[in-house]
Symmetry: C2
Subunit: 211 residues, 2 copies
Amino acid sequence: MKLYGYWRSTSSYRLRIALALKGLTPEPMPVHLVRNGGEHRGEAYRRINPQGRVPSLALDDGSVLIQSPAIIEYLEEVYPEPPLLPADPVARARVRGVAAIIGCDIHPLHNVGPLNHLRRDLGRSEEEVGAWIGRWISEGFAAVEALIGDDGYCFGPIPRLADVYLVPQVYAAERFAVPLAPFPRITRVAALAAAHPAFAMAHPARQPDAE
Amino acid sequence: MKLYGYWRSTSSYRLRIALALKGLTPEPMPVHLVRNGGEHRGEAYRRINPQGRVPSLALDDGSVLIQSPAIIEYLEEVYPEPPLLPADPVARARVRGVAAIIGCDIHPLHNVGPLNHLRRDLGRSEEEVGAWIGRWISEGFAAVEALIGDDGYCFGPIPRLADVYLVPQVYAAERFAVPLAPFPRITRVAALAAAHPAFAMAHPARQPDAE
């Protein structure tokens, strides 16, 4: 396997955690999102992923999978142990629901494209961009905080799909200086995950392309 | 089952299609997103869904599921026929990948919250808001167009998860007057779906709260 990603990208980090939890160690293929006007926009990378986004996972037979939510569901199906989802369908929907709040209602709004549009096309100040980011993270985290449990990871003693999504989102929140004090459950989960070997090895600072 | 949703909401429409394809007919529970400052923000609805968003699906045992991606995966697990995903894991990832482009990279950016933030908090004009919407739909559709097939639905002769996501996104594109001429595969899929009974009964205009 080859993992095309960028050290600081939220969705690359998310996929690295899922891979590490499954005990998979693909070859890292860094794609620099800033250098040369963004290597993800270049022709070479678009031949791998026509959408020109990270991450992508190239399988050993040459198939390329795109979109972290789709790739992580693939991993869960093909490498079922340890499971990222519980067995009961309603419990699975609760775990996937928290993942979707992060993957749909928070992260897309502070992705590099929308932030650059706010800055360059709409001429917004860094203060306005920061308020935009903070709003979506804070509103989304308020929902997550209400839905996850009082101890352990988001949904009990072992990490699940919700934690795979939450930990990179907390990293992004810290990077953007969004206050986390209103979210004690979320900060508890992030602290617990920081001590877990799979989460630790997936951390942006541990990647070969980290700056 | 009770389906809390809004006739014109993209994610409510998406869930209605999945339910209709599975032959499920939950009781409609309209939640008006504009009237009374937004009924989804009210205390009564937040007791059902702490995030205060539509759709939510209340099961007959009282469990409430939130977030359309999570609810649709639940439906696929509990009501496997007809399947919204093919059997092969790589093929499933391709179908889910197109769904994720729409569910993560397009729809969240033109959701009501971000558009209102652009208008009210950032003072942007309707022309600027329209360009914002058009950019994310057009960029996302260019990727979808490159990934789906040359005839039938997105991935063959029967509707799959990608079509469940695509058809409401085309409806939104038309509503926002985004040009669809560059996307002949997408418009072919939308035309085919319009003649399918499940897609037809899920259409916003057919809902009891349609205006």
